[in-house]
Amino acid sequence: MGLGGTGTVTMSAGQGFGPKLQYGGGASIDFVFPIREWLRLDTSIDAFSVMPSDISGGFLYRGYSGAALAIMAQAGAVLVSSRSLGLMRIGGGFGFAAALPSYWYTTLAFFYLEPRLQGLLDWEPAGLPRFDFQLSVPVRLQLRRDMSYSTSTGVGIAVLYRLGKDR
């Protein structure tokens, strides 16, 4: 299991309005289940927040905060394996999230689904055999029915602690 954090930039366009950027971030609690040496399943509970866009043109996209449940299959291959450095893998993931945020300053809750892609670099240091440090580049598509499109990317970091027997 582990803890993660992500900084994101979202590009959204409302119906009849143009695209704008919204910055945000989130934190997650991850539960990772190894399936094969090269494949694992990451389930997470995310808390996230997206700031309002700028007000150019006299309009803005509202900020929102909420929670999401996500599941992602991650596959990777060993990039480096050495006694001094430890094990480093490179890989990617694909999954889905279900999000329930509410708009800032309101109690208006709404729901959307979010397909997620992720590039991943995973490092198990030689001196810390139970720990994984992850650097990720997520690409997410918010399937919001009230917007023409909404997609985000960013940078994520996570620390995983391996439970169970040592390998």
Partner: protein, 356 residues
């Protein structure tokens, strides 16, 4: 590894830098228009302040008129003051009368002068339609009304109205006889929606300081965790909220009542099922002399209080949040036990507009 980090950093940096230059909407700022209405006195047959007459909607309308004027809006204001005078753009144009339905159902308005200038249903709807040729796609239109509002619970789902002049009349033939709302002369949510549809901008804002005004909100995706009849406590997101939000997402059906958030933003003083109030003095001694919601809205907008993110502008959402916070802090704690607490509501939708 270093290449992955470098590429990732470049993607994020490029996105961050582009926020200032990639999307330039400076040419999309249009003109600002406002229609302001209020009805303090509904009939000359009753004295000032005696039901169905109110005390402060003319003060609400007058203050909103001045505020919007100073904020660069082209404003048309019509209101009826406590003496029964019809005021148009701060000029008195005559007197209202005594709307009445007799036993035969015949409507009369005894003593009325120049009623065509009063904020009646037909005048309000016509004012909105008159702007259809003027308001462009990037313009902002604010429509404000202060007065009575009502709910027809006999229809399913319930329908909500606001009550312009002539819509509250004495019904001789009712049992018991007395003052009632007259639906054909009141403005129902869908009737206002039809008038709004003629205006060629999505930047329409409806502000209602009336009872049951939450019924004018017709969200499609959002579930409001604040109850439509406030009885205290904090709004809670329950499994029911989640289930409703998922259901709304799956169906994406237009609300059967209220104005779609994609056509107009509604800022309502009260929930669909509750009343709101006007008052003279707050419990802490602060003079109020307005509708409670309008008072806190004005308080926020007249200073910099409503500019919550200090960017020099006030959006619809910021105005709402300021009015709501004022009510929650300075009104509801004192009036919860007497069941006079209430909560403002706002439309959903992803877009917010700059008001000032």
């Amino acid at each position: 590894m270093s290449r992955v980090i470098r590429v990732s950093a470049m993607v994020v940096l490029a996105a961050a830098l582009s926020s200032c230059s990639m999307f330039d909407y400076s040419g999309m700022v249009g003109n600002k228009y406002a229609l302001v209405y209020g009805v303090t006195r509904y009939t000359m047959a009753q004295g000032p302040g005696l039901g169905p007459n109110l005390q402060y909607p003319d003060a609400d309308a007058s203050a909103m008129y001045a505020l919007l004027n100073a904020g660069g809006y082209t404003v048309l204001g019509r209101w009826v003051d406590g003496n029964g005078s019809i005021i148009v753009n701060e000029t008195s144009l005559g007197s209202i009368g005594s709307p009445n339905y007799d036993n035969a159902g015949t409507f009369t308005d005894t003593g009325a002068v120049n009623v065509i200038q009063a904020p009646t249903k037909s005048t309000i709807i016509q004012d909105i339609r008159n702007l259809s040729a003027t308001v462009g796609p990037n313009d902002v239109l604010v429509v404000y009304f202060s007065g009575h509002g009502t709910q027809d619970t006999l229809s399913t789902p319930s329908r909500e109205y606001f009550d312009p002049y002539q819509s509250v009349a004495y019904f001789t033939n009712a049992s018991p006889s007395g003052y009632y709302d007259d639906p054909p002369k009141s403005v129902r949510d869908d009737e206002l929606g039809a008038a709004f549809a003629a205006i060629n901008t999505p930047r329409k804002v409806l502000i209602l300081d009336t009872c049951n005004s939450g019924g004018f909100i017709g969200n499609q995706l959002e579930v409001d965790a604040t109850a439509q009849l406030y009885t205290g406590g904090w709004p809670v997101v329950t499994p029911g909220t989640l289930a409703q939000a998922i259901s709304d997402y799956a169906s994406f059906r237009a609300s059967p009542t209220g104005l779609s958030p994609y056509g107009a933003q509604v800022l309502s003083a009260a929930g669909r099922d509750e009343s709101c109030y006007e008052w003279s003095v707050l419990p802490d001694g602060t003079p109020l002399a307005h509708g409670v919601m309008t008072f806190f809205l004005l308080q926020g907008l007249q200073g910099s209080q409503a500019d919550l993110n200090h960017d020099g502008h006030v959006t619809v959402l910021e105005a709402f949040a300021t009015a709501k916070a004022g009510i929650e802090k300075n009104w509801n704690p004192y009036f919860l036990s007497s069941k006079q607490a209430f909560e403002p509501h706002i439309s959903g939708g992803p877009v917010d507009f700059v008001l000032f």
